[in-house]
């Protein structure tokens, strides 16, 4: 049974005179425990697809099932509850609340879900242990480094032990060391806790941590590669696929700097 089942989803923006198709008939499935990457040139519709899968946005047509539940027509309040309980998010710009301390940012999803103080503190201790955030708990986001911020964001995403973790360019604002560290954490979460991870990125190195990568171009699925050998060889495969997409004669901006 797939955890995510996307069936012929379209997303069209704009008004009659000026319609933009961001996603044009995508169908895909993600199984429980997978670590899936979504790649593609700028404007290909990666983030739109992620937003649709994560219930932040609604498709113009088509259907999306999460954990066998059709979320396409769910009411807003029910969707909010579903997101709160089942999903976790990591963003490129961290999206931490500046007014809250690290501790408060971390526990926020649990307070929203109505956990008891004891349960919240237990969960907090566990996450802090995994991500090494102990010394940062009483600091404010503005006082810590980007790498630390992303670790906090990651902690906030996984503290509810979600079935599904969505990451939108999580390493976009990090240096290589912090990026590697974060990807290592994501791998651990995926492997040990069995959390399914769906990650949008245009960086080949980041993508090489995934087990499977879906390539999108002009709002449609273009190709799919699955990691079989080492990470290095997978990285090479990703680079090749990016070259293939770029070779179509379109300018792909940051995703294919060499072309």
């Amino acid at each position: 049974m797939p955890l995510i089942d996307v069936q012929d989803v379209h997303k069209v923006y704009g008004h009659r005179a000026n319609l933009v198709t961001a996603v044009a008939g995508v169908s895909l499935q993600v199984l429980q425990g997978e670590f899936v990457g979504i790649m593609g040139p700028s404007g290909a519709g990666k983030t739109t697809l992620l937003n649709l899968m994560s219930t932040i946005d609604r498709p113009t047509s088509g259907q999306i099932f999460l954990n066998q539940k059709n979320v396409t027509y769910m009411k807003n309040a029910a969707l909010a509850k579903f997101r709160r309980e089942q999903l976790g998010f990591i963003f490129q710009d961290f999206n931490l609340l500046a007014a809250l301390t690290v501790r408060e940012n971390l526990v926020l999803p649990l307070t929203l879900a109505g956990y008891s103080v004891v349960a919240i503190n237990q969960a907090l201790q566990k996450i802090v242990g995994i991500l090494g955030l102990n010394s940062l708990l009483n600091r404010y986001p503005d006082d810590i480094s980007p790498g630390q911020k992303q670790r906090v964001a990651c902690g906030r995403a996984i503290i509810t032990q979600p079935h599904l973790l969505f990451a939108d360019e999580p390493t976009g604002s990090l240096d290589s060391k912090a990026a590697t560290e974060l990807l290592r954490y994501l791998t651990i979460i995926n492997a040990k806790a069995g959390t399914t991870v769906v990650m949008v990125t245009h960086d080949a190195f980041t993508a090489s941590y995934c087990r499977r990568i879906l390539f999108i171009k002009d709002g449609q699925l273009f190709a799919e590669i699955v990691r079989q050998g080492s990470r290095q060889s997978f990285f090479q495969q990703v680079i090749d696929m990016q070259a293939t997409i770029g070779g179509g004669g379109r300018t792909n901006g940051a995703s294919a700097p060499g072309f």
């Binding site: 807003n76 909010a80 007014a99 809250l100 999803p109 929203l112």
Partner: protein, 681 residues
């Protein structure tokens, strides 16, 4: 031309932001214009004896209103420039010169100013008659109000505000021209976290302690005052001043530190804060309140001051009325030698005298000591006073049914004190012995102290009197003796006019009691020998031969009616202006917070919960200052009430309710716009 179009377009686009400002300005201009129109329409008031007072009252209030509006406009404009700094920087980067940008802002300001001026004037012209009717009603005058269209008032209002707008626009333009580009591009920090240090906690505690002790001192004012006896009579002024300083400083510290510390404590109290969206609400609230420290303080203090002034005016009004009832309860009291002429005048003007009553007064020197509630109202009394017989007292009860009844023996007196009417009840009163300078009656015991004067305290020397038994009165060889005739008739505009004519005719007629010092006075006391001398020298003690009640009632009515009117409208301007500022400040941060709320939606918070927290936060920002203002006013009035002893707070309550209602409308409007601004499209 391009500049004008751009300015026009921008003003239209930002109308949401500007509309509250324009509305508040327009309303202030309406009131300004209406006051001007009322003051500058001579036909309205020329029949009233107090026309000058009304005119001057309105015009001087207008000066205050103008100062307040200008301050409000400057504040709002500074704020608008702050808000548009990125646009300014962008224009500048695109190569538009600073002076051109300034010109554009100048035009935009002028457009907004003209809009509010036109709106305000139109409203003013439409409502001027209503303003006049309200004032006529409040001062109880009988004037028919026709159409109020004063060209002078229109010209004056337009001239004044055009000048203000031009000055304001030039100020803005100058400000923009001197902004460094780098500063303009810097994003204004709205998310700044204020760390709570040890000192801030301490200052927060100090704020709470100051407020608590000020409230405590006010509540138990009479109990704590004796502890400040070492300050002497000044204690009655110093202690309230101390309370005032405590409140001013305490309120500021409360907003600046105590609130932050309190919210931080709540955040650390996990059982409370780990609930739904509370952590976020508490953190946001502390940021928001921290940004509003100055305006919150100002609103609190201004609200407290206006409510206190209003409350005290009602108190003074009631007290003055009671004072008048003590001083001159009867329509006319005249010396018996003037009585025939006065009676003739009354008949001539067809005034029906309901009752007439003669009385005899004796004046003698007396000495007594009295302790009163606060220790400083009364001390030792030495000087002349007026004595009346029990028989005349009983006769007066026919005219003044509220005079208490009593029986006296030959050793007893009733002591009449005018100050009692103002000073509150005497407590812990021991038996007072009274010594007289008369040779035939040397000493008497005070049976009762009263503020109810037969024929009115105005007819008593020193505002002090004695009621003695008829036998003692007969025996008393006084220094002077007067005969009085009291007339009682109903109050009306006609009787006011006739009384005023009599006052004008006889205002030079006085009894003068000339004291002659004998020997050295003991310490600060001095004794008098009195002799009755008519119209000879300017003496230390004198009494008018004719006194009337109704002109004084009219004067009181006019004075206090005008006061209520002025304060009512002035506080309306104040409440609109401060409400607009709080609203603008809150909306300004809304656009910067959009991302935060979008994140909360992603984290699984429903739009309803988000709206709920926004309503809560804006509600606290609006209602906290006004509530604290009301609390401060309550304690201030509590003290005033001890002094004045006449608490009628109907009007103050009404005004407090209006403040609250206006702020609730602002709150609702702000929260609604805020929610719309942060909701993703």
């Amino acid at each position: 031309m391009v500049l004008l179009r751009l300015a026009f377009k921008n003003a239209r686009q930002n109308f949401n932001r500007y509309f509250v400002y324009v509305f508040a300005c327009a309303l202030a201009i309406t009131i300004y214009f209406a006051f001007n129109a009322l003051a500058l329409t001579p036909y309205l008031w020329h029949t009233l004896p107090d026309a000058e007072m009304i005119k001057n009252g309105l015009l001087s209030t207008n000066a205050f209103i103008l100062i307040f509006i200008v301050a409000f406009m400057f504040y709002a404009n500074l704020f608008f420039v702050q808000q548009q700094r990125r646009e300014i920087a962008l224009f500048n980067l695109l190569g538009v010169s600073r002076w051109r940008i300034s010109g554009y802002f100048f035009l935009e300001n002028l457009l907004l100013g003209l809009l509010s001026l036109i709106l305000g004037l139109l409203l003013g012209i439409l409502l001027a008659k209503l303003f006049a009717l309200l004032l006529v009603k409040l001062i109880g005058a009988s004037i028919s109000v026709g159409l109020l269209f004063s060209g002078a008032a229109i010209g004056q209002t337009i001239g004044t505000f055009l000048l203000v707008y031009i000055f304001l626009a030039l100020f803005d333009a100058g400000l923009i021209a001197h902004y460094p580009l780098a500063i303009l591009f810097r994003q204004p920090v709205t998310d700044k976290v204020v760390p709570i240090t040890f000192w801030r906690y301490l200052l927060g505690l100090l704020g709470l302690a100051l407020l608590a002790s000020a409230y405590g001192m006010a509540q138990f004012y009479t109990e704590i005052l004796p502890h400040f006896k070492f300050l002497g009579a000044a204690a009655a002024i110093i202690v309230p001043l101390l309370i005032l300083v405590f409140v001013l400083v305490g309120t500021f510290l409360f907003y600046r530190f105590s609130l932050l510390a309190l919210l931080m404590q709540l955040r650390h109290w996990y059982r409370f804060s780990y609930r739904k969206i509370r952590l976020f609400t508490l953190a946001n609230l502390s940021q928001r309140l921290h940004r509003h420290v100055n305006i919150s303080w100002l609103v609190t203090i201004l609200a407290a001051i206006t409510l206190t002034v209003l409350g005290s005016i009602t108190m003074i009004y009631t007290a003055s009325y009671d004072g008048l009832n003590t001083d001159q309860p009867l329509a006319l009291t005249v010396d018996r030698q003037l009585a025939p002429a006065v009676a003739q005048h009354l008949t001539k003007h067809q005034l029906t005298v309901q009752q007439k009553q003669p009385a005899t007064f004796k004046v003698t020197g007396a000495q007594f000591k009295l302790d009163s509630l606060l220790g400083f109202h009364y001390g030792a009394f030495t000087g002349p006073l007026t004595v009346i017989s029990q028989q005349d007292y009983q006769a007066a009860r026919r005219l003044q049914p509220n005079l208490p009844a009593f029986r006296l023996n030959d050793q007893q007196v009733i002591l009449l004190l005018r100050k009692l009417a103002y000073a509150g009840q005497t407590k812990r009163q021991q038996v007072v012995t009274l010594r007289l300078t008369a040779t035939t009656v040397k000493q008497l015991k005070v049976k009762q102290v009263s503020a109810a004067f037969p024929y009115g305290a105005n007819n008593y020397v020193n505002g002090t009197g004695l009621v003695v038994s008829d036998a003692v009165f007969q025996r008393l060889n006084a220094n002077a003796q007067t005969h009085l005739m009291a007339f009682q008739f109903a109050g009306s505009h006609h009787s006011e006019q006739v009384s005023q004519q009599l006052i004008d005719r006889y205002q030079q007629h006085y009894h003068y009691f000339d004291p002659q010092k004998t020997g050295q006075p003991p310490k600060n006391l001095h004794t008098f020998q009195l002799s009755k001398v008519h119209r000879t020298t300017a003496a230390q003690h004198n009494l008018p031969m004719l006194q009337a009640r109704y002109p004084a009632t009219r004067w009181l009515r006019t004075l206090f009616g005008l006061d209520f009117y002025i304060i009512g409208f002035f506080s309306l301007i104040f409440i609109m202006a401060t409400g607009s500022i709080i609203m603008l400040k809150q909306l300004a941060e809304a656009s910067g917070k959009r991302q935060q709320y979008a994140l909360l939606i992603k984290l699984g918070i429903s739009q309803r919960e988000i709206n709920h927290t926004i309503y809560l936060q804006t509600g606290i920002a609006f209602l906290l200052p006004i509530t604290l203002g009301v609390i401060n006013a309550y304690f201030a009035l509590h003290i005033l009430n001890i002094w004045l002893n006449q608490l009628d707070l109907t009007f103050a309550y009404l005004l407090g309710a209006i403040y609250l209602a206006v702020y609730i409308v602002y709150w609702w409007l702000t929260a609604k716009i805020y929610c719309r601004m942060i909701t993703p499209t």
